[in-house]
């Protein structure tokens, strides 16, 4: 999900670079890594990494828990979420992201409120 303007080639390059710097790190490392003029906060769930790229002055732990909060919502919404849920329902995942993060900022943090909204939207299908 992109909150800044990049062309497609640049996006592809960024994805590869982030992959390269994050996946080489082990459990003894921090969950933070400097990246260009920003930093990446990431958290690993089994084989899946969730990464957020933020300004260097941003609060590391707040975003680290922001990731977890998001994952707990996914888990609740998809009933024990697994990677396949995210692939097959990619268009719904975008909705969850927009409910919780918008314009690169945290929009809503209450799991109850987000889930209520998501169920309401689900009922509109």
């Amino acid at each position: 999900k992109w909150y800044m303007q990049f062309d497609d080639d640049e996006k592809q390059k960024l994805i590869e670079e982030v992959h390269a710097v994050v996946t080489v790190r082990d459990a003894k490392h921090t969950n933070f890594v400097e990246f260009r003029n920003f930093k990446i906060i990431y958290r690993r769930y089994a084989g899946l990494y969730f990464c957020i790229c933020v300004d260097v002055t941003d609060n590391n732990l707040a975003y680290l828990e922001g990731i977890h909060n998001f994952v707990e919502v996914l888990n609740e919404y998809f009933h024990n979420v697994c990677e396949l849920d995210l692939v097959f329902n990619f268009y719904k995942v975008y909705t969850v992201v927009d409910e919780m993060f918008l314009a690169g900022e945290i929009r809503e943090t209450s799991q109850t409120k987000v889930l209520k909204q998501l169920l309401m939207l689900q009922s509109l299908e």
Binding site: E17, T30, E65, F88, L102, I106, R107, T112, M120
Partner: protein
């Protein structure tokens, strides 16, 4: 959408890339025919196909149709159809102007629909795309929705952040107005989600115009106070693992960092109370063992500490913050240790907490030695640097020096600069300073930049009391069998000036001093040799008894007929000077150097530059301290650089300093339009292959023009000085030089016989094959001249040599054993197979030459790291000469196949 699920599982079941592409092409053909077909598609089918297109796009394939169908979905009355339409538009932003007006029209309808779900979809779309066209269309509408009394809470949240996005991308289009005052009052909103979103918006706006939003301070303090004093269950939905509204607290604390401490005593007292409560909570036993609990709690704590440091006005809070961070330094969580080091670094700069920070020195030193994550060690170095003062400088410098021996290559240069700065700043006796710098050269000579050794010489020359000691110490250091070239430079300079101070000792008599220096001569590069020649002539003045010996050396063919013009000229002139000048004249000409004017250390400027503008630590502390020590700071100017080649090297011009006569400056205005030569018709001159292993020399020459180069490279950066010499007696007009599309602003005229200099800054973004092309165009007499030459910027220029033991070498060699990582070439020798020449070439190529690694002594092995902006590629090489057959076998192993291939091609051309 069953069709979509089937398609996705088909793709997942594809066994190969080819099969996947085949399946996708089949699907694209199917969708295209459906869209083009006579039968009108219903909303559901349209949604399904658009969603499939989106999936294909996300897999990395180009999508060039379907936009119209997606736009159609926007006007559907069904949420799911509308949602897919908006998603497609948001992900595949297309600035196709016909569609933009249709999209904006649909958004407009949804914004005025009074249906909160549709309004949110529209606002999210604006926030995600954030284009100028959208800002133009909606910059007035969004604030209205945000502050309208009847807007639903969730819509307010979206509107606030939507406005934030428009304000960041097109600030000029977002008008401030009567809505600003009402936005501030959103901090009082009952719905914490609205407050969360609004706080981000207000923070962004307050950073731009603090005056307009300063009423937000009291509201933010009140809100924060209510949150931190609430019981953990009060906030229900917004309590996260027993922590009350952690994200909102963090945001409020960040908003307060836009302002100084509140002037109103009551507000200030209330804020101090909040901060104390947050610090107190850190000491309470945790309400949960879960990491989520401690992370959320500490997120708020770290932000509170940032605010305390920002205010820098409450000594008790500062010291308490420092003690808290001190506890974290020993925490078992790496994250906390890292953040504590980072945060303490800023605390060290406050006069109130500097002493408290210093008490943790042992822990920080321990971190430097034991942390496994290099970024944590880096923070430890930063903190040691920040906490250093006169009382602990010796300890800190000693620890940094010993760490330097094992430090990661990526941070060595920075540590060298920091040690050099600290040693100078806190030197009580300068003998310690001299020892420290010599140790720097010993442990990390390659990372000691010119600024560092210039500086030690400036200081020795300016301080009488240390000169004798310096001479003695460099003399002793030079006796080591292998010393770094930087040591030879310092030694040559200092003995040339002050060798007389130790000449009384028979163990360092003039002749012994000279022999020692001269024993290093043949191992050194041209600039060092030039420096040594100057030291020799200084010796002739200092010690008449060695005059004969030195004259003999100067007279030898290797000096008087040296191929290098500079060396030859020095030898000839110095020899002549020593023969004809009287002792008096010699003494005057070769007098001791006068003291250098006192000025700010150039090393400091370099460190600031190195850390760059977007640096993690804004180094406020540095500015603050330096101001008092040196009475002024030099701002580092960030080098402008543009990625314009796309093939790996970035070249930007910094400045051009045309040493042409001033009279021509009027012409600048007349001819300043840049001429971009048409490259297609130019004969392209390759650069001479010797430039692969050399950095300086003549790049190109014809009857009119000579182009000379001097270049230097460090890690992924380089700088190239290009000299254009006019060999004729006539002026060149309309002179323009360009690298690809970039024109170098140069003086458009070059006088007959004059020289024009330009500087190119080079950055290696990723590995590359093609060298950038330098195009030159000028008018000589009546005809237009075009010249194009390739610049000798090759991948190996970004090599950093790596020393390693035989065991390490073979271990890594085995690790790089995959077939694509190795490239081998067997080729016939083009030149004579001289061992010394081969060694020099491998070193000139940039790799470290490893002795005693290969069991066969006639083989050569080397190692190094190629630095690009994004990655570092470790490289190992092995060259096996077969003198009987006059053949070589060259093997390259690196972690990247393209790098192996390129290095092998480059190096094999050299023998």
């Amino acid at each position: 959408m069953r069709g979509l699920a089937v398609f996705i599982s088909d793709i997942r079941n594809c066994k190969s890339k080819e099969a996947e592409i085949k399946r996708i092409n089949k699907e694209l053909a199917n969708i295209r025919s459906k869209f083009k077909g006579d039968k009108a598609l219903d909303g559901y089918s349209k949604k399904k196909y658009v969603c499939k297109l989106l999936f294909i796009f996300l897999l990395g394939h180009d999508i060039d149709f379907g936009h119209m169908e997606a736009v159609n979905l926007l006007s559907s009355n069904k949420y799911t159809e509308k949602q897919i339409g908006y998603l497609f538009i948001s992900v595949l932003v297309n600035s196709n102007s016909d569609l933009i007006s249709l999209i904006n029209n649909a958004i407009k309808n949804d914004l005025s629909s009074r249906n909160p779900t549709f309004m949110n979809l529209a606002l999210h779309c604006i926030a995600n795309v954030g284009s100028r066209e959208m800002a133009e269309a909606f910059a007035a509408e969004v604030p209205r929705i945000l502050v309208a009394g009847d807007t639903m809470d969730s819509v307010k949240q979206s509107a606030a952040l939507c406005l934030l996005r428009l304000n960041t991308t097109s600030p000029d289009l977002v008008p401030m107005g009567e809505w600003t005052a009402r936005v501030v009052h959103l901090l009082n909103d009952q719905h914490l989600g609205v407050v969360t979103a609004a706080t981000s918006l207000i923070t962004t706006l307050a950073q731009k115009s603090p005056e307009d939003f300063k009423t937000s301070v009291s509201l933010a303090v009140a809100r924060l106070s209510r949150i931190v004093s609430s019981a953990s269950t009060d906030l229900q939905d917004y309590t996260y693992y027993f922590v009350a509204a952690p994200w909102l607290s963090v945001k409020l604390l960040r908003l307060l960092q836009c302002y100084p401490p509140p002037e109103d005593g009551a507000i200030r007292g209330r804020l101090t109370e909040c901060l104390e409560t947050i610090l107190n909570k850190a000491q309470e036993p945790p309400k949960s063992k879960k990491v989520q609990h401690s992370n959320a709690k500490n997120a708020v704590l770290f932000e509170a500490i940032s605010l305390i440091i920002h205010h820098d006005s409450e000594p008790t809070l500062l010291v308490r913050a420092c003690n808290q961070l001190g506890q974290f330094l020993q925490h078992r969580e790496t994250n906390l240790r890292y953040l504590a080091l980072e945060s303490m670094c800023t605390l060290a700069s406050s006069e109130f907490s500097h002493e408290a920070v210093k008490t943790h020195i042992e822990t920080v030193i321990n971190a430097l030695k034991s942390e496994r994550d290099v970024s944590v060690r880096q923070r430890a170095v930063d903190l040691l640097y920040a906490m250093c003062d006169r009382s602990n400088a010796k300890q800190i410098v000693a620890e940094m020096l010993s760490y330097l021996e094992t430090a990661d290559y990526s941070i060595r240069e920075e540590i060298v600069l920091k040690v050099a700065i600290l040693a100078e700043k806190y030197a009580v006796d300068y003998t310690w300073y001299v020892d420290t710098i010599l140790n720097l050269i010993r442990f990390a000579g390659d990372y000691v930049s010119d600024e560092v050794w210039y500086r030690v010489i400036q200081i020795v020359i300016n301080r009488d009391e240390v000169q004798g000691y310096a001479a003695k110490t460099v003399f002793e250091a030079l006796q080591a069998p292998a010393c770094h070239e930087n040591l030879v430079k310092v030694g040559g300079y200092i003995l040339g000036e002050f060798g007389n101070l130790i000449a009384g000792d028979s163990r360092s008599s003039p002749l012994i001093q000279f022999d020692l220096l001269h024993s290093k001569f043949h191992l050194c590069s041209v600039p060092t040799r030039a420096l040594l020649l100057s030291a020799y002539i200084k010796f002739i003045n200092l010690f008449p008894e060695v005059k004969g010996t030195i004259q003999e050396v100067l007279r030898s063919d290797s000096q008087l007929r040296n191929a290098d013009v500079e060396l030859q000229q020095r030898a000839v002139e110095y020899l002549r000077l020593s023969c004809i000048a009287s002792t008096d004249i010699l003494a005057t000409v070769l007098e001791e150097m006068p003291p250098f004017p006192e000025r700010e250390s150039s090393i400091l400027a370099k460190l600031k530059k190195k850390k760059g503008p977007g640096n993690l630590h804004p180094d406020l502390d540095e500015n603050r301290k330096e101001r008092s020590v040196n009475g002024g700071t030099v701002a580092a100017s960030p080098t402008p650089s543009t990625d314009l080649l796309g093939l790996g090297s970035t070249i930007a011009t910094q400045n051009s300093a045309p040493p042409v006569s001033k009279g021509t400056s009027l012409l600048v205005d007349v001819f300043s339009e840049n001429i971009i030569p048409d490259m297609r018709c130019l004969p392209l001159a390759p650069f001479p292959s010797r430039f692969v292993c050399k950095n300086n020399g003549v790049l190109y020459e014809n009857q009119l023009l000579q182009i000379g180069l001097k270049s230097e490279f460090r890690q992924n950066l380089g700088r190239m000085y290009v000299f254009f010499g006019n060999k004729t007696s006539t002026q060149f007009m309309n002179f323009a030089a360009s690298v690809f599309i970039l024109c170098i602003p140069a003086d458009p005229t070059v006088d007959g016989g004059a020289q024009l200099q330009q500087i190119l800054n080079i950055e290696c973004v990723s590995d590359f094959v093609d060298a950038p092309v330098l195009n030159i165009q000028f008018r000589y007499g009546g005809t237009l001249q075009n010249i194009a030459v390739k610049l000798p910027i090759t991948l190996n220029k970004f090599f950093q040599p790596t020393e390693m033991t035989s065991q390490d070498f073979f271990q890594r060699w085995k690790q790089l054993g995959a077939p694509q990582q190795e490239v081998q070439k067997i080729f016939k020798a083009k030149n004579s197979m001289d061992t010394e020449v081969t060694k020099a070439k491998i070193m000139g190529f940039g790799a470290a030459l490893l002795d005693g690694v290969d069991p066969n002594p006639s083989n050569f092995v080397g190692a190094g790291v190629i630095h690009t902006k994004t990655t570092q590629v470790g490289c190992l090489l092995r060259l096996e000469p077969n003198t009987q057959a006059q053949m070589y076998r060259l093997t390259l192993r690196t972690s990247r196949d393209t790098v192996s291939q390129r290095l092998c091609d480059l190096l094999s051309e050299q023998f």
